[in-house]
Subunit: 339 residues, 2 copies
DNA sequence: CTGTTAGCGCATTCAC
DNA sequence: GTGAATGCGCTAACAG
C-alpha cells in the first residue's frame, strides 16, 4: 500500500506528457502556453497520485529551499515564544518552513545557524536578539544569507522591533490617570535598545504631566526575578515617601518586584500599584494578576518573516516602523493610590 | 570577497584529484583505500576553501536530509519549551537540524508537518503531544516517515514520557512527611495519560501511608488557570475539615489554585500547603514561590531525538522507560500544617 | 503548444 | 588506489 511517493516522471507518464510539460503546469507560472486539455490531464494525474514535489531536488536546481532559519537566544521566554509562533504562521502562509536554532549568547560562536546557512539549508535567517548579543552581527554577515533582526533595531539593518517607548509611556499614564504622583521604574538593561526606550517613555509621560524626573526612581532590574526583587528593595529603602506606582520593564522583573513587596508586607494594589510591560499567560498566574501593556509580539514575528521573504526575493522592502502596543490589559495589580 | 561557496569539484580541482576521490575522503567512511598523501591534500584543500557539502545535493542523492521535524501543539508551554531545547541540542550533537511545526490540536488536519514529511524535508518527526490529540496518530501513520512521541506513551509506538506517577507520589509524600493528613489533588485531564498517572501516584502514596482515599479530594482542574481556581473553590466548599495540602498536576493549575486561596483569604503555606508537578521559571515568579517536583523535561526532548535518529538509521532501539523526576524543589509554598 | 537537453552537487558502482 | 560514468528529481533554456 504505502508505495513510494510519486515523482514528476510518474505524473507525466500518467498524463502522457513529458516531464518538462508537467513541470510547467505544476509550477503554475503566469504566461505559460499550455493547452487547457493537457493542463487538466496533468493536474488530474498529480491529484490522483498525490504528487508532492521533492523539495530537495527543487532546491538543488533553483538554489532556493523555502526554509527560514530562526535563531533564538532562549526558548523559555514568552516574548520569543510568541514571536516564534507569529513567524511560524507567517512563514507557513508564505510557503516557507522554519528551522529552529538555539543560540546561547554566552557562548559566542555557538549556534547551528551558521551551518544552516553554509550548507544551503535555509534561504535566510530570522534573528531574535537580546540586547547583549555582541558579536552576533558580525557572525551574521559572514553567513552570506539575508537576515532580519527581531526585537531590536540597528541602523542600516533590516529588523522589526516593538515600540517600547510608547508602551512605557502608556503604562505610566495609566498610573497617573489613577492619581499616582510618585511613579518609579524597574528598568531593563540600561545600555540596551529596549531598556533605553522604556526609560525614555517613562520620562515622556512624566514630563507631559509636569512631574519632575527623579533619577533615584529608576532602578535597573535586568531581566530576572532576583533583579526585580533587588531593585524593588532598593526603591523601598529610599528616604522620603515611597513610590505608589511601579512600571516594570518586563513581566519577569515585575514578579520579582511583587515578591519583594509581599515580603515587605506591602499590599498590592492597596499600597502600591504595579504595571508590567509585555503580556503573557504568566501575568494572569501571579498574585495579584498583573495589569500589563500588551505588545504585538506575535505580529513582530510575522512581520519579520514577511520582511525576510521580501529580502530573499531580492526586493528592498521598507522595514516596518516600530510596532505599537496593542493596549493596556487591566487586571488586579493597579488601583487608585491610598489617600 | 564573498565568493560563492566551494563545492566538491573545487576541492577536487585544488587537490588535483577526481571528485569521486574527494567525496570518498570527505565521507570518511571506514575501510576506504586512499593513499595517506592524497587524503591529506584533499583535506587541506577542503579546509582552505572552507568546503561545506551542499545539504540539498547530498539529500537528493542519499534521500536523507539530516533534519528532524518537531511538531508541537503549543509554543508557550514551559514543558514544551524545555523539551524543544533538549531536542535541539541533542539533534545538533547528532548532526541533525530541527524544523519546527506548530500543530493546533483543535484543527484536526492543521499542521505543516505533513508537508515536511511529504516533500522530503525531514527524515523523521518528533511529536510533542497533549493528552487529547485524537487523530494525531492516524495522521502520523500517513506521513510514512518514522516518528517518536513525546510526553505520552501509546502501546506499540516509540515514545518517551515522564514518570508522572512517581512525581505525584513524591509530591504527596513530601506533604505527608511535613505532617499533613488531608491531602487533595488538583488533577489534570482524567482520561489523559499523564492525568491518570498522577492520580495513580497520589493514591500510591496515600495507600503506603495508610490514609484512606477520598474521591471528593480529587478535583479535575485541567490545564488552565481558571480550571485550577475553580477546582480549588470546589475543594474549599466541601463539608468538613478542609484539606491542608494540595498537589497540583501542573504549574498552571497550581497558580489558579493559589489565586483562589488568596481570594478566600487563606494563607499559603500557613493554612494550606501547595506542591506542583513540573518546574519552570514561573514557579519562582508566583507568590509564594511554589515548591515543585522537577521533571526531566529537557532530557525527554533529548532522549526522543536520540531515539528518532536510531529509528531513522533503521535500528530497532528499546524505547527508554519512563523518565524519573529529578527531585523536589523546596520553595515557600509548603510547610507543616497548622496545629 | 510541447518535447529534448542539460545540469544543479553529490555519492556510488564499475573499470582500470 | 583512483578516475569515469551515472542518476537522484527537478527546472529552464532551447528547439521544433
Amino acid at each position: 500500500m504505502n508505495r513510494p511517493r510519486a515523482n514528476l516522471k510518474d505524473v507525466a507518464g500518467r498524463a502522457g506528457v513529458d516531464v518538462s510539460t508537467a513541470s510547467r503546469v505544476l509550477a503554475n507560472k503566469p504566461g505559460q502556453r499550455v493547452a487547457d486539455e493537457t493542463r487538466q490531464r496533468i493536474l488530474d494525474a498529480a491529484r490522483d497520485l498525490d504528487y508532492r514535489p521533492n523539495a530537495l531536488a527543487r532546491g538543488l536546481r533553483t538554489s532556493r529551499t523555502f526554509a527560514l532559519g530562526l535563531v533564538v537566544p532562549q526558548l523559555d521566554n514568552p516574548v520569543f515564544s510568541a514571536a516564534i509562533r507569529g513567524a511560524e504562521m507567517a512563514a507557513a502562509a508564505l510557503g516557507y518552513s522554519l528551522l529552529i536554532s538555539h543560540r546561547d549568547p554566552d557562548r559566542p560562536m555557538a549556534g547551528e545557524y551558521r551551518r544552516l546557512a553554509a550548507t544551503h539549508q535555509v534561504d535566510g535567517l530570522l534573528v531574535a536578539s537580546l540586547d547583549d548579543d555582541r558579536n552576533l552581527i558580525e557572525e551574521l554577515g559572514e553567513t552570506g544569507v539575508p537576515f532580519v533582526l527581531m526585537n531590536r533595531h540597528i541602523d542600516g539593518m533590516p529588523g522589526v522591533a516593538l515600540d517600547s517607548r510608547q508602551a512605557s509611556r502608556i503604562a505610566v499614564e495609566h498610573l497617573l490617570d489613577l492619581g499616582h504622583r510618585r511613579v518609579a521604574h524597574l528598568a531593563g538593561r540600561l545600555g540596551g535598545f529596549n531598556g533605553q526606550a522604556r526609560i525614555a517613555g517613562y520620562r515622556d509621560a512624566l514630563e507631559a504631566a509636569g512631574i519632575p524626573f527623579r533619577p533615584e526612581f529608576v532602578e535597573p532590574a535586568g531581566y530576572t526575578v532576583e533583579g526585580g526583587a533587588d531593585a524593588m528593595r532598593r526603591l523601598l529603602a529610599l528616604p522620603g515617601p515611597r513610590p505608589t506606582g511601579i512600571v516594570a520593564a518586563t513581566l519577569v522583573s515585575a514578579t520579582g518586584g511583587l515578591a519583594a513587596l509581599h515580603a515587605a508586607g506591602i499590599g498590592v494594589p492597596d499600597e502600591v500599584s504595579v504595571v508590567a510591560i509585555h503580556d503573557a499567560p504568566i501575568a494572569a498566574m501571579v498574585y495579584p494578576a498583573l495589569t500589563t501593556i500588551r505588545m504585538s509580539t506575535e505580529e513582530m514575528g510575522a512581520k519579520a518573516a514577511g520582511l525576510l521573504v521580501e529580502l530573499i526575493a531580492g526586493r528592498s522592502p521598507e522595514a516596518p516602523p516600530l510596532l505599537p502596543p496593542e493596549g493596556l490589559i487591566r487586571r488586579q495589580s493597579t488601583a487608585k493610590p491610598a489617600t
